[in-house]
Amino acid sequence: MDIFGQLFLNSLQISAAYILFSLGLTLIFGVMKVVNFAHGEFFGLVLLLIAIIVPWLNSPALPLALTYAAAGAVSILATMACGWFLYHFAFKKFQRDMVGSFVLSVGLSLLMQGLFLEFFGGVPVKLPDLIEGNLHILGGAITTQRLVLTLIALCVAVVMCWLIAATKLGKALRAVSEDHEAAMLQGIPYRRIALYGFLIATFLAAIAGALLAPVTVISANVGSDFLIKGFIAIVIGGLGSIPGSIIGSILIAVIESVGGYYFDPSLATLGMFVITMLVLLVRPKGIMGNG
């Protein structure tokens, strides 16, 4: 086995999920200047819903893929509805209020995790594998389903980046991100764009969850672990910067896979924190940040 190949594959998988996650986080920050600490709970909600629906729906009559697809679709829709709800009743009032929105989202995160724990229980769940089999490529081993899911995730990320770079909506999102007052003067409906931005971000977190459902051990607080890393990724990369969030996610993924391979996971996390501190000291606004 080629170590680099293996590490590359590991990093690829991990970074795909983090990229989707942090794209959403950085989008919300860019458009609404809101630091959404509860973003992880959308991810968690999807995973938990799938964890409930799949075993319930699963039967020999239904192909597993269909079960997963149905569960995924329902969960994503439910989470998007939740996102819409939270936007209208909570975050809308705290746009451009970084401190207020952060505090609110911390409260929401805590509340939601508590509710998840109540309704889901403390026992972690592992769902059945969607696709069987292993592959050996580039000198490393990876399960087929991980590879497929990773590629899908990366496709979604690419589509998202294209959307932001090329479409009218994407341009509006960027304009609002850079200077929301100038954007409004140009006739861009800020409120609506902010809502779309928030929903897109929610969707990204949701689909990251759906794609990770077959390969993750699901528990009530699965969202918060992801959130911390996602947060680190976007801060290292620069809040509000799309390329920054991608760079940050890749960096985190590499540290996690390399660290997890040579040392143990908690030491890898420690390393991540230390590197975060170092990056922020040299570039207080992140690698691509311009604040």
Binding site: F29, V35, F89, A90, K93, F94, M98, V99, G100, F102, V103, L104, V106, G107, L108, S109, L110, L111, M112, Q113, G114, L115, L117, E118, I228, F231, I232, V235, L239, S266, T269, L270, F273, V274, T276, M277, L280, L281, P284, K285, G286
Partner: protein, 313 residues
């Protein structure tokens, strides 16, 4: 308007009542509750002090933890007197905050929050790796001074009262004005010759001094401490006290800490709903009571709402 003299008298009176009441707390559950409320008040006051420069000090748990461990080492491992343990905790926390603050306060807002959070987690992980202090299982045998075993609540309340008063005085002083000015417009403050960076570091140092003592008091109250006690959640709960109580006045964190700690006891009677409780408290406070309990009291007394000085990031 409430005159300054009336305020001073009422504060002294309330403090005296609190002190006397604590003498009757005994050593049972009521005593624990009193200590708990007092320490939470102290931590909330410490967190709020850094809000004067417009930052959310999520490194709080790090300094509280350091104070707890240093004092624990002094008392349980080295057998030193309580006063030394207390001072050791305060000095250690302050020194660390000077170093960390000097580096991290170059960042602001969400960046500072993240770096502070990272710092807390790093410290926590370091504690789990050190065998001398019990690693992941923590340290035991941290007992209050023999002299005060039966009256530990009173000792705690007295210390907390003094420290909160000191923080209040500092807030009202010229230093306090400079801190608020920095929150309002730090570029401007720099142009009139004030070293904004060092002033921010000083603010954090003062807050950490208090946090360190809080940690020491906590350690001696619980008798057992472990790394898990000093996680991010500690700062989040403290934030809940402040949001519920109100940020505009130092009475806010006091009220918030007292009310939430007591309410939590009631809620806990229904089951392990800690997260839901504190989470809801924050959400409700932020959405429905932006000025907190202090704001509601002001309104009912017919006082004008205090202008909330916003930070500019």
């Amino acid at each position: 308007m409430v005159s300054a003299k009336t305020s001073v008298v009422s504060v002294l009176a309330l403090s005296l009542i609190a002190l006397i009441a604590s003498l009757f707390a005994g050593t049972g559950f009521a005593a624990s509750l009193v200590i708990w409320v007092a320490i939470n008040i102290l931590l909330a006051a410490s967190f709020r002090f850094v809000q004067l420069i417009g930052e959310l000090n999520f490194a709080l748990a790090g300094f509280v933890g350091l104070g707890a461990y240093i004092s624990g080492i002094c008392t349980a491992k080295l057998g030193l007197p309580f006063a030394i343990a207390l001072m050791g905790a305060a000095v250690a926390a302050t020194l660390l905050s000077l170093i960390v603050g000097f580096i991290t306060l170059r960042t602001k807002g969400p960046y500072f929050m993240l770096i502070s959070f990272a710092f807390t987690e790093v410290l926590r992980m370091i504690y789990t790796q050190i065998e001398y202090i019990g690693g992941n299982s923590g340290m035991i045998g941290i007992f209050p001074p023999a002299l005060f075993t039966d009256y530990y609540p009173t000792l705690v309340v007295a210390i907390v009262l003094v420290l909160v008063l000191v923080l209040y005085k500092l807030e009202q002083s010229d230093l306090g004005k400079v801190l608020v000015a920095i929150r309002n417009n730090d570029a401007l403050v720099q142009t009139v010759g004030i070293n904004v960076h060092l002033t921010k570091v000083l603010c954090l140092a003062i807050s950490s001094f208090v946090a360190g003592i809080g940690g020491a008091l906590l350690a001696h109250a619980n008798n057992v401490i472990s790394p898990g006690d000093f996680s991010f959640l500690l700062a989040v709960y403290t934030l809940a006290y402040i949001k519920v109580g109100g940020e505009s006045h130092i009475a806010g964190p006091i009220l918030g800490a007292a009310v939430l700690t007591l309410l939590a006891q009631v809620a806990m009677g229904f089951g392990p709903y800690e997260h839901i409780f504190y989470g809801s408290a924050i959400v409700i406070a932020v959405l429905l009571m932006p000025d907190g309990l202090v704001g509601i009291i002001r309104k009912s007394l017919g006082l004008a709402p205090r202008a909330q000085v916003a930070a500019r990031h």
